[in-house]
């Protein structure tokens, strides 16, 4: 039976589903019987979920304008190399 420390050590691979089936089964069993590891697993899952679900902020208009202007300059240089 893995300990809590073992569970934590494997937590990333457990979440990324890259453990061999027998290790995974042992950890499944641990987490069913250990409330603290269950909470750590649940809150880590939710941590990843909100990071992945967070839409990036729009690029501020003035910054986007500067970017497009710099790009257009580069495009013009490419078309007519001096």
């Amino acid at each position: 039976m893995p300990s809590c420390k073992d569970f934590l050590r494997e937590l990333s691979d457990y979440l990324d589903e890259c453990l061999d089936p027998s290790t995974r089964q042992e950890l499944d069993r641990h987490v069913q019987e250990c409330p603290s590891c269950w909470v750590v697993l649940d809150t880590t899952k939710r941590t990843l979920k909100i990071y992945k679900g967070c839409e990036p902020q729009a690029v501020p208009t003035d910054l986007e304008d500067r970017l497009m202007a710099a790009l257009q300059k580069r495009m013009a240089e490419k078309k007519s190399p001096s």
Binding site: L11, S12, T43, I50, K52, C54, P56, L67
Partner: protein, 204 residues
């Protein structure tokens, strides 16, 4: 290409390579906000991240013929942005240690002091704006070596191999840093989101 479906990245890259600058601008519009986020998250500096954003797309435009299509276009862009961002980060930290390629020792590497369930769904309790602010501030508090790995793996969703390759780290190093980054973020967010949490933003 049909009227209803937007062109794929591959189609736009093909067009851009054949001199269609409008197609390249389309790619910029498609990805500029994500590249700015990577730049911000890695450099932790507003001015640097704006430079990184611009440099990334200028380099991508200039070297588009070097993109070989082995990876996704976005992964290729992130690689350019990472190189630029890491250079900025190192420049800012001259004299200080940038611990990107050395082993990070944190003593107890799997800290779980906060064991508390969360109070409902943070997505329902905070606005997108508040949540984004909170997530950004939290991730920016991680050590550079953890933050970079977390951003590439869990935010940009690159593979362990791509992340290792981009940062010049071994696969075990990426995995161990990712685990510690995830646990540290979990710890910090739990302090905010746990049940009966009063003064939720106090830790910032």
């Amino acid at each position: 290409m049909t009227d209803t479906e937007p062109p794929s990245d591959e189609q736009l890259v093909d067009l851009a390579r054949n001199g269609d600058d409008g197609a390249f601008s389309e790619l910029v519009k498609r990805y500029n906000r994500r590249i700015l986020r990577v730049a911000r998250n890695i450099t932790n500096n507003a001015e640097d991240s704006e430079d990184v954003l611009q440099e990334t797309f200028l380099k991508a435009y200039t070297h588009l013929d070097r993109f070989e299509g082995h990876s996704k276009f976005y992964t290729w862009l992130v690689r350019i942005a990472m190189n630029e961002a890491l250079m900025k980060l190192r420049k800012r930290k001259t004299g200080k240690v940038v611990s990107l390629d050395e082993e990070l020792s944190t003593g107890d590497d799997t800290v779980t002091r906060e064991i508390a369930v969360w109070d409902g769904n943070p997505e329902d309790q905070f606005s997108q704006h508040e949540l984004r602010e909170l997530l950004d501030q939290t991730v920016s508090s991680l050590p550079d070596g953890f933050r970079t790995v977390f951003i590439l793996r869990d935010v940009e969703e690159l593979s362990t191999e791509e992340t290792a390759d981009m940062l010049g780290l071994s696969i075990p190093a990426v995995k161990s840093r990712l685990l510690r980054a995830r646990l540290q973020l979990r710890e910090k967010l739990t302090r905010v989101f746990k049940k009966k949490g009063e003064n939720a933003f106090a830790f910032l």
